[in-house]
Subunit: 348 residues, 2 copies
Amino acid sequence: MTNFNVSCPIPLDQYPQVLLAHGGGGKLMQQLLEKMIFPAFKTTQNIPPHDSAVVNLNANKIAFTTDSYVIHPLFFPGGDIGSLAINGTVNDLAMSGARPCYLSVGFILEEGLPMETLWNVVQSLQNAAQIAQVEIITGDTKVVDRGKGDGVFINTAGVGMVEHNQIIAPQSVQPGDAILINGDLGRHGIAIMAVREGLEFETTIESDCAPLHSLVLAMLEAGITIHCLRDLTRGGLASALNEIAMGAGVILNIQENAISVREDVQGACEILGFDPLYVANEGRFVAFIPQDSVDTTLKIMRSHQQNPCIIGQVTGRGTGMGLVTLESKIGANRIVDMLSGEQLPRIC
Amino acid sequence: MTNFNVSCPIPLDQYPQVLLAHGGGGKLMQQLLEKMIFPAFKTTQNIPPHDSAVVNLNANKIAFTTDSYVIHPLFFPGGDIGSLAINGTVNDLAMSGARPCYLSVGFILEEGLPMETLWNVVQSLQNAAQIAQVEIITGDTKVVDRGKGDGVFINTAGVGMVEHNQIIAPQSVQPGDAILINGDLGRHGIAIMAVREGLEFETTIESDCAPLHSLVLAMLEAGITIHCLRDLTRGGLASALNEIAMGAGVILNIQENAISVREDVQGACEILGFDPLYVANEGRFVAFIPQDSVDTTLKIMRSHQQNPCIIGQVTGRGTGMGLVTLESKIGANRIVDMLSGEQLPRIC
C-alpha cells in the first residue's frame, strides 16, 4: 500500500463514511467532487472531470478499452484497487500497441465506506496515472446502499493513440513465431490470496502490478514486427495462450522449463493447490514475435528492467481450431486447456 | 420494458443463474462472451468487444465521458438499465455537441443473477445502441459474490467526434442568454419511484429516457451558437442550473409558469413530497442560447418531436458566485438552491 501524507480534504469528523447523498447529485456530492476528486485528477486540459471532456487528439486511429475492477481486498502487497485500475487499463491499450492518453474513472461506492479509504484509493489512482503519464479527464461517482456493493468498485476506460500500422492481434500470429514473456509468473494472484487467506511467507509476495506501455512503445519504435500481445490477467498464461491459439487457429508449444516462477510463489501455489499457469498477473504479457526480431526484443525488454524469457513457439496451423501444448520438465507433452470454472474470484 | 423474442443463447436449464465462474476468465466466461455478448454487440469493426479495440476516427477533437448505472429497479416503465446506460452516455457526449461514435460496456454482475435478466439487459443495450447509431466496440464482464452487488451494474464510456469550434460550457454563458428546455420535467424520477413504492396512477408514467444527440447536432448544423448544454439527470433542473450558474458566475432567473410538468407527474410529486425541479430526467436538457437564435432553436426542437419552452434567462453577472432565482406562479421570487442531501437514491 502506498503511503500518502496528505490529509483527507473532506472533514473526517463530520463525514467519517460515504453517505448515499454523496452520490445524489446535490451539495454533498458536489463537495466530494470539488474537494477530493477534481483536485486529485486535475489535468492539463483544465476540465472538471465529471463532465464530458473535449480534448485534442491528433491520430487517425485510436484504441479504446474498458475494465471494471472489483478486487478484494482493496489493498494488497504491491498495489491496491486504484493502481490496478490505472495499470490494468493502460496495459489493455498497450496490448494494441497504443500510446495511452486519456482515462475515465467511474466509482461505485457502498454507503458506509470509510471516507479515508476512498481518499487513499483516489490518491493511488492519481499517483499511478502520473507514473503512467495518462490523464484522467472524465469521471462519475455513484453510491449504492449498504449491502448492495462492496466498498469500492472502479471502472476505468481508456483512449490511446495508435501510431503504427501493424495489426497486433491473434490473426497476425504465424507458425514459427517465438512466444516471449517479460518476467516471472503468478505474483499478483498469490499476493491477493495470501492476504485473503491470512498466509504468511518468509518474504512478502508483492503483486507485479505495473504499466507496460513504455516497453511496448519502445519495441515499436525499434521497428520490431509484433504479431500479437496479450496481458496475463484473469485466467493467467494458460487462458491467454488458449485465446490466442483459438483466435489464430494455430498450435502453440511451450516449455515448462523456460517459464519462470519465483520459489516463494511456487511454494504458495503448492500450498493453495494452484497451477501458476492459471494464476493472474498484472504486469506480465506474452508477445508473439517473428524469430528474426527475438534478440532485439529481449534486449529492449531487459533495458526496461524486465526479465524476459522465450517460453515456446507457434509450431503450426490447427485444423480449424487452436491448441496449446506444454513440454514438461521431464520431457512429456500435455495439453494446456482453459480453466473450465473459477480459480480465483475477484482477482482484478 | 422492451419485449424481445429471441431466446437466450445460454441454455437456461443448465445455467439459470450467473455464477462466479462466468467472470473467472475460463471456459464459462468465454462461453458467456461468445454466445451472448459478442454476437449482440457485433460491430462493423469486426472486433471482439472484450479486447482493446482499434478504430479509425477522423477528428482532431474528441469528447470522452463515462457513467456507471446502478438504477433500482433494473426495469421500469419507459426503459431499463440497458437503454439508460446507452442513452445516458450518448447524452453526455451530446451535451458537448459531439457526435457519439463508440461506446464501451462494463458489467458488474452479482452471482445468482437470473441469466434471462442479463439477456434482456444485453438485448436492450443492443437495441438502444442501434437506435442511437453508436457502436459498442469494447467491454468487460466481472462477477461479484452474492450480497456484494445488486443484480447488474453497468458502466458505459463513450467517445464522440467534435466537429464544431464552439466552446459549449458554462464559461461561455452570457448575460442575456435565453434558457430553454426541450420538454416537460420529472417523468424519469417519478416512473422509478412509482415502481419502487408500488404506486398506481390512472395512467402509467413512463421515463423520458431517450437519446438527444440528433437534436443537438441539428442545432449545430443549423449554425446556432450554443453557449451551454446540460442534461437534467441526478438532482434535476435545479442542480443543473446551479452548477452552470456557479461555473459561469452568473445570475439566472426562471419562471415557474414556463416550466412544463405533466399533471400526473405533478400529482405524484405531491403525494411523494418531491419538488419536480429536483427530480431526475433522462431525455431533457437545458440550452443556453443567445436571444437571436432562440426562434430557430425552438423550431428545430419541435421538428425533433420535442416540446420546448423558454424557461428564463441569464439576468447578469454574479459577484464571484452564481445564483438561481425562480419567479413563482404568484409572482414572488425565491432562490432555487442545490439539494443538500439525497432526494432519490439510485435513480440512474
